[in-house]
């Protein structure tokens, strides 16, 4: 090919989606692949606190000791395999339970004549909004037994029954609490899929004489399969990296999980060992991701909302209707209202552990600084505490900025991935945009800090800046937004855009006048999850916030560490309220739907 031909070819292919894909791949390469590479490298390096167990080594030396220690040493069972088994049990169980609860709820709400559908489906998304440890705190408050001392658990107080250890602590409550926290994922995704099933598919099967069960098995299941896998992937990965709940609920019965090991080693300045654990977690997540993609094939089977799905497929619950409604409502109220109430209550109790009415007070909210009232902290009530309010403002700022950037980036990535579908770039971008989801926050934060603390090439040191927080959060929540963006883009046929091209519209005009307006509702939905997550985020930001960029979640640590839990809980209540209000307003104003926010 001669030069003119080649330059012509290049010119022709310089369209927005190609340029965008290159830009995104480069950016994501830096913020995702490089940290990964750094992690791998560190697992082969000796670090100052590690050298004492590697005789004769100096910091910076190459070593295979960490790998040996973790996988094949005599203590490998304690250091790695047993926690791994616990983690797998937990993650798999969470995924399954979330699927069952979420899927069951989805089916009841979308496919039966259950009443109060709107109210119940709104309620079903709330558990994710609350911090995951709120559920474990509620559990302990309700179900603790004398093993852990202190005041009586509510259950024991009311019934006099002492609960067994395996119920109050360890794998059982960990699985339950985390499932109850993550089932909204399953609910939203499966409900979305069920809603989109063309009723004609089922009707024709019915006409052919298929029974309900057969229809379920042969028609509904295969269509819902991809979504079931997505749910499994999302919840399983989350289960891997979570630290707070297993630590809190597992400690009393010495249940260690991989994230405990990760945390212990990173915090103990043994990153060589710590990152190795992180790598294992990432690998497991990647494996599930791979299986997820295999199951979905080329994802051609994404059913667009053609407006055809009618309500004619509603199953009648008959006599079971009332009891089921009661059970479902009670369940949802329990998992949303109860943890929130526990949080709120703890922030209103002057003396912790004292449940009498006379002990209720707004001191931690609006009280003056005092050494004598309550826990005697000398701190003003949080609503009067300028540092807290400022941090809350920062949190909201962070939430808004992150969600907007994520939303736009997610939409652009969605555009790029779908418009270049089938090409290597498309698949690569799709995977890279999802990778951050698999990385445990604490490892991620640590590497990010190292990556951006120093000037590298044209990128200045971002140490201590708000920008660094934003970048870290954007990268972490991009998986949500890109999935939402891809999902939204898939519903817009290429011809709609081509028609605009033929009418002479440039790329920006097409985005402005055709693509964006059609994606409006999905776009705003894609903003919600990053907003909620950024407001709730702790483990990622803890290492990156500096005193000047303090956010609400991190600032509560100053209370947690001193044992002044009422303040912590009050701040968390504020955060939850802020998120709930935002979600509600956005739903009313812009018709956002959390399900679309994760690509459902």
């Amino acid at each position: 090919m001669n030069l003119r031909a080649i330059s012509g070819k290049i010119r022709r292919n310089l369209n927005p989606q190609t340029i965008l894909s290159v830009i995104f791949i480069v950016i994501l390469g830096y913020v995702v692949v490089v940290p990964l590479g750094v992690m791998i490298q560190e697992t082969f390096t000796v670090h100052p606190m590690e050298r004492f167990q590697i005789p004769g080594s100096l910091p910076g030396d190459f070593t295979t000791h960490h790998w040996w220690r973790t996988f094949v040493s005599p203590s490998a069972y304690s250091f790695f395999y047993k926690p791994l088994i616990n983690t797998l049990i937990i993650s798999t169980s969470i995924a399954i339970v979330s699927l069952v609860i979420g899927g069951g709820l989805a089916w009841l709400i979308v496919r039966t004549d259950l009443p109060f559908k709107k109210f119940l489906s709104n309620l079903a998304t709330v558990p994710y909004i609350m911090p995951s440890w709120a559920m474990s705190l509620a559990w302990i408050t309700l179900f603790k037994n004398p093993r852990i001392g202190g005041s009586q658990g509510l259950f024991q107080y009311l019934t006099g029954i002492t609960l067994p250890d395996w119920f109050s602590y360890g794998l059982f409550p960990i699985i339950i609490c985390l499932s109850l926290h993550y089932f909204p994922f399953g609910f939203m995704l499966i409900a979305g899929a069920l809603r989109n099933i063309d009723s004609q598919l089922e009707e024709s099967a019915e006409l052919l004489g298929a029974s309900r069960a057969q229809i379920l098995r042969r028609i509904v299941f295969p269509i819902v399969m991809p979504v079931i896998f997505s749910t499994f992937l999302l919840t399983f990965s989350r289960g891997l990296g979570t630290f707070g709940t297993p630590s809190f609920l597992g400690g009393p019965v010495r249940t260690y999980v991989l994230s405990t090991m990760l945390h212990a080693n990173l915090v103990g300045q043994r990153p060589g060992i710590g990152y190795l654990v992180a790598l294992v977690m990432i690998l497991m997540g990647a494996l599930i991701l791979y299986m997820d993609h295999k199951m979905l094939g080329a994802r051609k089977s994404f059913v667009t909302i053609s407006g055809k799905s009618g309500r004619s497929g509603l199953t009648k619950l008959g006599k079971a209707k009332v009891p089921i409604t009661i059970i479902v409502t009670a369940f949802l109220l329990a998992v949303t209202v109860v943890p929130f109430t526990v949080l709120a209550l703890e922030s209103l109790m002057l003396i912790p552990g004292n449940y009498s009415l006379s002990n209720l007070s707004l001191h931690y909210w609006i009280g003056p600084p005092s050494q004598n009232i309550g826990v005697g902290s000398g701190e003003p009530g949080i609503l009067k505490n300028t540092a807290i309010l400022k941090a809350l403002g920062n949190s909201i700022k962070l939430g808004v900025v992150v969600s907007v950037i994520c939303g736009v980036a997610g939409m652009l990535i969605g555009y790029t991935v779908v418009r270049t579908r089938g090409t290597f770039f498309s698949k690569l971008l799709d995977q890279m945009a999802f990778l951050p989801y698999l990385m445990p926050s604490i490892a991620f934060g640590s590497i990010f800090l190292a990556l951006f603390a120093v000037q590298r090439g044209p990128i200045p040191s971002l140490y201590g800046t708000f920008t660094l927080l934003v970048i870290a959060c954007v990268v972490k929540y991009l998986p949500f937004s890109s999935r939402a963006g891809i999902g939204a883009m898939m519903q817009i046929g290429p011809e709609l855009e081509e028609a605009a091209t033929m009418a002479g519209a440039g790329w920006i005009t097409r985005m402005r006048k055709i693509i964006l307006p059609l994606q409006k509702s999905s776009f705003f939905s894609g903003l919600l999850l990053p907003f909620i997550s950024a407001m709730r985020e702790l483990s990622l930001v803890v290492l990156l916030v500096t005193p000047g960029t303090q956010v609400a979640t991190a600032i509560t640590l100053r209370y947690t560490d001193r044992g002044w839990y009422p303040y912590t809980n009050a701040v968390m209540v504020l955060i939850v309220l802020a998120v709930l209000v935002t979600t509600y307003i956005s739903r009313k104003l812009m018709g956002t739907d959390l399900a679309k926010g994760i690509g459902g």
Binding site: R11, A500, M502, G504, K513
Partner: protein
């Protein structure tokens, strides 16, 4: 001038060749149809013309401008080729009403509002959708949507109009009406039209020229009646015409005197002894007979072949009779009721100047100019 030239256009998708070395010249003002079964490359060709796909190699000229050349690196992007494309799915923007859909092109060209309004109203009136301007696409019927799609394109006064199976989503009665409308539109606007369809009747009724395509290759490029009367190969002969042409395998033999003989099944039919035809002497050939080019007689007649009635399908103004002739079953169209009964003996005759013969590679063996002219004048008389 909007004369379109496709030069050695090839399009490959990975290992698959969608369009293979296509050469086509579409004259200004003509109504060219790309006809073929699905997967033959016609839509791909259309999209390459529009600029939505880039050929793997070749050149495209519109007027005196080269809009694409793989060798010389020329390229005019879609939207700048002064072409309009009506999509098979219409691709109306669901969030804009009919007026805004049609006005879109001029709006982004920043024409003054009054001018836009006039232009939109004008075209809406022509296409009889002026009462629908406030509605949204989801509120329109299929036919209405299609007219909006056409209006959206026509309002830009393109030099070339590209239509991708625009009638396939309509019911058959509406389709007939729309065909007439489109043909009128062609005459009124005088623009060049490139039309893609798999419906051979559409191609025959509407076009000035037809490109028959199969598996990415051009089979024949000619006016409709030429394709009908003198198909270039078996594929084309089979694709065009309803009912399908009867094809019988046979051998070309030397005949008595001035003609060669085609022996196919029980048929013995003469074929002109041209120098071309003589090259295929004693080789396998395929005999092609259109249903309407044969005659039936209840009585034996000279030169007729005896067969039995296999089935009779009355179709209003004509009858489709299947006649068993030895191993073969031939379909014959007759125009008057012969009151035939199944398994009744029947005599079948063939209009000799309508016989089509194809060599063992499927290519037509030309019956000679004399033959063709006869055929042409005969069919013209028939219209």
């Amino acid at each position: 001038m909007a004369r379109i030239v496709l030069k050695n256009i090839t399009k490959k998708f990975g290992q698959v060749t969608a369009v293979d070395n296509l050469n086509l010249v579409i004259e200004d003002g003509s109504f060219a149809t790309l006809l073929g079964p699905s997967g033959c490359g016609k839509t791909t060709t259309l999209r390459m013309l529009a600029g939505l796909e880039d050929p793997t190699s070749g050149e495209i000229w519109i007027g005196d401008k080269c809009v694409f050349s793989s060798e010389k690196g020329h390229y005019v992007p879609p939207g700048k080729r002064e072409m309009g494309l009506v999509f098979q799915s219409y691709a109306l923007w669901p969030h804009l009403n009919v007026f805004d859909n049609i006005a879109f092109g001029h709006k982004i060209a920043k024409r003054p509002a009054q001018e836009i309004k006039e232009k939109v109203f004008e075209i809406a009136r022509v296409l009889q959708i002026h009462e629908l301007l406030d509605r949204y696409p989801s509120e329109l019927s299929g036919g209405q949507q299609q007219r909006v799609a056409i209006a959206r394109v026509l309002v830009m006064k393109p030099k070339v109009l590209l239509l991708d199976e625009p009638l396939s989503n309509l019911d058959s009665k509406l389709r007939m009406d729309m065909r007439a409308e489109l043909k009128r539109l062609h005459l009124e606007t005088g623009s060049t039209i490139v039309y893609v369809t798999h419906d051979q009747l559409e191609a025959l009724t509407m076009s000035s020229h037809v490109a028959v395509m199969d598996s990415g290759r051009l089979q024949q490029w000619a006016p409709p009646m030429e394709i009908y009367n003198a198909p270039a190969n078996v594929f084309t002969a089979d694709f065009i015409g309803n009912p399908r042409i009867n094809l019988v395998e046979g051998v070309l033999k030397a005949g008595s005197g001035e003609e060669l003989l085609i022996e196919a099944g029980e048929l013995r039919l003469p074929f002109p002894k041209t120098s071309e035809a003589q090259r295929y002497l004693n080789q396998k050939v395929t005999l092609g007979l259109r249903a309407e080019d044969m005659l039936l007689s209840k009585e034996p007649q000279d030169g007729f072949f005896k067969g039995t009635v296999y089935s009779v399908l009355p179709a209003g103004s004509e009858w489709y009779v299947k006649v068993q002739l030895g191993e073969e079953v031939l379909t014959v169209t007759i125009y008057s009721d012969l009151d035939l009964r199944l398994d009744e003996p029947i005599w079948l005759g063939v209009q000799k100047n309508k016989i089509k013969c194809f060599n063992q590679n499927g290519a037509a063996i030309s019956p000679g100019v004399h033959f063709q002219k006869e055929a042409a004048s005969a069919s013209e008389g028939a219209i």
